[in-house]
Symmetry: C2
Subunit: 225 residues, 2 copies
């Protein structure tokens, strides 16, 4: 029975899973979903693919599953994700889980809110919806509070977020941060440790990192240096 992967490379968690699937050598049926065209908003998508009308999601031999980390764990439990990316050691996996959850409730959510206000909502409205400078400044401050924590705590004394080996936690975070390029925010300019870490993550994940980020680089105007 085959695994179908539904994604849009414009979505950070969908890019993350795409990179992890490719790095892990998992075979999947390629099911791109164009969010900007509203392909996730059809009745067919709602009824037959994902009732919450989001990406990423999978259908694995009839079993429908959404939410990126849940999908990662499901595939890991099946032995499809290499342990160097998502350890099965009790303490190491707990450390990665802690980082993933921290990201979702802080880093990813604040970066997403900034991205939406600065780029997505203006783009979807054809420029009619524009955030006030005050709102944008508030969202930027909240995002930078978490970027500070990545720079000063998570990367304080290690090459990667959960130690000196790259794990899925780094790929999730890197894809979130690259999204800010679209919103014309240059995370590399302000955060030297994040800049060096992003370079390490990109190199460790290539060619899959650059493939997954082709649209981000294009809209953002350039590849990162």
């Amino acid at each position: 029975m085959s695994l179908a992967y539904y994604y849009d490379l414009l979505s950070p968690p969908a890019r993350t899973l795409h990179i992890i699937l490719k790095m892990s050598g998992v075979q999947f049926e390629d099911c791109p979903v164009a969010l900007l065209k509203g392909e996730h908003m059809t009745e067919d998508y709602k009824n037959n693919i994902n009732r919450f009308q989001k990406v990423p999601c999978i259908i694995d031999g009839g079993f429908k599953l959404a939410e990126s980390i849940a999908i990662l764990r499901y595939l890991s439990a099946q032995g499809k994700i290499p342990e160097h990316l998502y350890s099965k050691n009790l303490v190491e996996q707990a450390r990665i889980d802690e980082c993933l959850e921290w990201q979702q409730t802080t880093l990813a959510s604040t970066c997403a809110l900034y991205f939406r206000a600065k780029w997505l909502e203006p783009t979807l409205s054809g420029g009619k919806t524009q955030p006030s400078p005050e709102k944008l400044e508030t969202l930027k401050t909240r995002m930078e509070t978490n970027l500070d924590l990545v720079e000063k705590l998570w990367l304080e004394s290690s090459d990667f977020l959960c130690g000196n080996q790259m794990t899925v936690a780094d790929i999730f975070a890197a894809c979130v941060l690259e999204q800010t390029r679209i919103a014309e925010y240059d995370v590399r300019a302000q955060y030297p440790k994040i800049r060096a870490w992003l370079k390490r993550v990109r190199e460790a994940c290539n060619p899959y990192f650059d493939y997954a980020h082709q649209t981000v680089y294009k809209i953002g105007g350039s590849e990162p240096n």
Copy 2:
């Protein structure tokens, strides 16, 4: 080696874990942390308990771990959480993980933002900080978008969020929704399925549910009916 649990019953995920620990019969060293008194903001707490200065967190024989779902998974992997609460079956666990992740990125975050604007920020500022009616309305609408999904999708055809048996996903969600009582929002008045489901969850978790919610009920003015 002992397990120390750091929590404040004013925090929904800390309440959730408190209930789960009690229901699971896990022995722990009781370490309450008074958030409103800023006990999590000391240097000692940052250096010795949790570098991110939040609750809940644990120290298990020297191993420090934060983030509620990471802690749940860590304890589950040690066999400390009954499988009827957090199944080890591949598909059942994936379904619970999906629900937990959906909650964190949608339901929990939007309920928390409403709670903060309506109650926490005014309370911490001694009434000086008050949200504008427009801001509060926007936050309420976002929260209700997700409450609608709980009512119409998650509880569409089952007694609990992940089927007809209560799991940790229900306890996490119930603790998030009870928090809105403090912000004078009556989720039971508008959502009949949620109302009936909350009753089921409370009954299944008592006496631990009511113990964990004593402060919520007190500030909210009454116990739910």
